[in-house]
């Protein structure tokens, strides 16, 4: 066994690369063979190269007030074709069930009348926007883009950790990671066919055009950003540029007579589809926060009148409430008459009769999550929490059982990751990872970018994958079954980015000890 894999021991979790110490899983054989001859100095050198490329392109995040490159580990995360097929069918199923739920919740509300989901879940959700009632998406799509967070459990089984159907971010990492990996480490790609990810912007654009208001044959699409101060501004700018559409802020759009126009140097031009990376609350001061200066007054009315389509739809937050998450398997059975292909993590709802006591009795053995916590905020891992933290938690849960779910702790799977070892030398060590596949729904198909964003917790034993907690990411490969072996992955020949470096990264915070999920629900 080569130097860098020396003393690689698998932890009490599923390891992505090794079946057991010294035995490489088949999908990883080529990568293992390519990496093994390298020494740790070379790995470090290439990692630093990638970091410099990120700094140069502005793929950075703010860490203690300092702009740092988002750490990209050079050992890729692999999914073989069979596994990816299974996983993507599971994600597709889930997205379709959530679409059906949203259409129902903002329509006839059958799912509640039929007793599958309690009414109070809807009425008590701060994201149930009654102002969105009556807005009919032209092609029926509300979840144009979603990020379904998955983890692989101890048995190697993928489970859904949470759904993000509002403004999921992170796809720019997927694109940038692949770009820099192919430049820095072309040899790694030489031995096997890896499915490209650069199709994403065109798929997204096609889906956005497909949801244009009826009768518009050549729709104008824009990306609406909260502005340069937003943590994901780089992503907004990147997607607009790769799609070849305008990046606008609220002040660039003006509504009149229920139509939306964009101010340009050549006057005002019509806009038909808005890929908005702005939270509902800030979208239209007439309907939501009146103090929002980054929104567009009148935009809800224009959407209501059917003259503009907002993607994702307003009010989707009722579907990624973590309490609703617990009902998603039921929703799949109810709407699709199918069994869920991807299980949830086992979850208890403290708000149900009798379950609160059950949760309180074993707080030290459960993971408690606020139903509305973005960026992993407020998550407490019982087994790792101090006694007084658990006592405080017990009080909070007792005061608001609707506000929490309880899950069994899942040991996220591990992947070999370049780390500083105890002896001061660099080497590969197991680090916990998750996966956020991105799905684009165009009304006829739910398409997944092959792979998605793999986040890695860089500290030993750490389960937190947030960049704000020292997390990084990995290039995620889906191996193609049929493609020619020498084919390299998608690299777009685009001009050098004119985007200046700025804060970029999962803006979420998390409490120590949680497998915190960045959500970066913007603003």
């Amino acid at each position: 066994m080569a130097d860098i894999f020396d003393s690689y021991t698998t932890a009490d979790a599923w390891d992505e690369m090794f079946e057991r110490p010294g035995v490489v899983r088949p999908a990883y054989e080529a990568v293992f063979a390519a990496l093994s001859p390298l020494d740790s100095l070379e790995l470090r050198y290439r990692t630093d190269q990638m970091a410099r490329a990120f700094t140069d392109r502005g793929v950075t995040y703010s860490y203690g007030g300092e702009e740092r490159p988002f750490p990209l580990d050079l050992v890729p995360r692999l999914l073989d074709a069979v596994e990816w097929d299974r996983l993507s069918r599971g994600v597709r199923q889930r997205v379709l069930a959530l679409e059906a739920f949203l259409a129902d919740a903002y329509g006839r509300q059958r799912v509640f009348a039929d007793g599958v989901v309690p009414y109070r879940l809807l009425y008590s959700s701060p994201h149930f926007h009654r102002a969105a009632h009556g807005i009919e998406p032209p092609n029926g799509v509300r979840v144009h883009v979603s990020g379904i967070d998955l983890v692989r459990d101890e048995e190697g089984r993928f489970r859904v950790l949470e759904d993000n159907v509002r403004v999921p971010s992170g796809v720019s990492y997927v694109i940038e990671n692949r770009r820099v990996m192919t430049r820095t480490f072309p040899a790694l790609f030489a031995e096997q066919p890896v499915r490209p990810v650069d199709e994403y912007p065109q798929r997204l654009l096609a889906a956005l055009k497909a949801c244009a208001p009826e009768g518009v044959t050549d729709p104008v699409v824009v990306v609406l950003t909260p502005g340069v101060a937003n943590a994901a501004y780089f992503e907004h700018a990147l997607l607009a540029r790769l799609m070849g559409v305008q990046l606008v802020e609220g002040r660039d759009l003006v509504c009149s007579g229920n139509k939306v126009r964009m101010r340009t140097t050549r006057g005002e031009t019509p806009v038909h589809v808005i890929y908005r990376r702005l939270d509902d609350d800030f979208l239209d001061p007439l309907h939501f926060r009146p103090d929002s200066l980054i929104g567009v007054p009148g935009i809800m009315s224009a959407a209501h009148a059917g003259n503009v389509t907002l993607a994702n739809a307003v009010g989707n937050g009722i579907a990624d409430d973590k309490l609703l998450y617990t009902y998603v398997p039921d929703l799949i059975r109810y709407y699709l008459a199918e069994e869920p292909l991807l299980p949830n993590v086992e979850t208890i709802r403290p708000e149900e009769p009798g379950r609160l006591e059950e949760v309180l009795d074993q707080l030290d053995r459960l993971v408690l999550k606020p139903v509305d916590g973005a960026g992993g905020k407020g998550i407490v891992i019982g087994p790792r929490a101090e006694r007084d933290a658990l006592d405080r938690l017990a009080e909070e849960v007792k005061a608001d059982p609707r506000g929490w779910i309880a899950q069994r702790p899942v040991a996220l799977s591990t992947s070999p990751t370049l780390s500083r070892r105890g002896d001061g030398q660099d080497g590969l060590a197991p680090r916990h990872i998750d996966l956020r596949p991105f799905a684009v729904h165009d009304g006829s198909d739910v398409w997944l970018v092959p792979g998605g964003l793999t986040r890695v917790a860089l500290g030993e034993g750490n389960l937190i994958v947030n960049s704000s907690q020292g997390g990084g990411s990995k290039d995620t490969w889906v191996l193609a079954p049929d493609a020619p072996p020498s084919r390299t992955t998608g690299e777009r020949s685009t001009a050098v980015s004119e985007v200046s470096p700025r804060q970029f990264g999962p803006g979420g915070t998390s409490t120590p000890g949680g497998p915190a999920q960045e959500e970066a629900q913007q603003q």
């Binding site: 509504c255 007579g257 007054p297």
Partner: protein, 280 residues
């Protein structure tokens, strides 16, 4: 015996410096219901704007318009012609237990939870429950209305559009909006689904025919006792042929007669004038 009323609701806002790009929603069109028929309803806006109408989540007719040119004043004139009916006899209410069972997991649930303006202290909620103990739904509505009317006096100027039920209770003063919020809060605390009603009340039911009299927009509540029953806590009466229903929601925030945002310096307080004419 039906009444026929013409209502003219004028709102005028002046801006000390010109306002630009103004976006507005108006909820002033009365509903056609078994108890009232709208014969005519219109909204005039000055400066002129093109109007668009939709029905919102609560079933209210909403008129939307925007003004993109700068303007120094905005005036809205909503006129309607409505036939109203006297109150029907009170039906036998469902038992409180049956009401609780039917509203536990149904659309009625929405009218049981507190909203920003209908949130009261746990003490006050407990007081409402105690006052309702052993009473049927109608008696509960009457008892809680009395509780509100004993505590709160009708006084203009002590509360504002953003005030809530607890504010009015603490200040012992309020206007119809506060009476309605407070009564709704207490009825909900007692487990009876209650909605907030926005509308108009003719101030003098026996006014001379064809002569306009000044009045105001009004708010009251409806509680669910097997069906929705009106209750006017400000006046301690059941709504009848002098009441005209425009909108129903959980609270004022769901049914504001006019809301708007515009670019510019703060305007003057709106001048509102409501005029009623009995036609039959």
């Amino acid at each position: 015996m039906a009444g026929r009323l013409r209502i003219r609701h004028e709102t005028r806002v002046g801006y000390p410096s010109p306002a630009g790009s103004s976006y507005n929603e108006v909820r002033m069109s009365p509903l056609t219901l078994p108890t009232q028929t709208v014969l005519d309803s219109r909204l005039d806006v000055a400066p002129a704007a093109s109007l668009w109408t939709y029905w919102d989540y609560w079933g209210t007719q909403v008129t939307v318009f925007d003004l993109t040119d700068s303007h120094t004043s905005l005036s809205l004139t909503a006129t309607s012609l409505v036939e109203t009916a006297p109150p029907t006899p009170l039906p036998t209410p469902l038992d409180r237990a049956e009401i609780a069972a039917r509203s536990a997991d149904s659309r009625l649930t929405e009218y049981l939870s507190a909203t920003p303006r209908t949130t009261v202290s746990p003490d006050l909620a407990a007081q409402a429950c105690a006052a309702a103990d052993g009473l049927d739904a109608h008696q509960t509505a009457a008892a809680l209305t009395d509780l509100v009317r004993e505590r709160v006096s009708y006084t203009q100027g002590t509360t504002g559009v953003h005030s809530g039920a607890q504010d009015a209770w603490d200040q012992r003063a309020g206007v119809c909006q506060d009476f309605a919020h407070l009564t709704a809060a207490l009825l909900r605390a007692a487990g009876i689904p209650t909605r907030y009603v926005s509308g108009y009340l003719h101030p003098s039911p026996d006014a001379e025919l064809d002569r306009p009299v000044a009045g105001e927009s009004h708010a009251w509540v409806e509680y669910w006792a097997g069906e929705w029953i009106g209750q006017d806590p400000t006046n301690g009466t059941r709504p009848g042929e002098s009441h005209v229903i425009v909108a129903r929601g959980r609270e004022y925030g769901d049914v504001p007669p006019h809301k708007g945002v515009y670019r510019g310096a703060p305007g003057e307080l709106p001048q509102v004038r409501v005029e009623f004419t009995r036609l039959a």
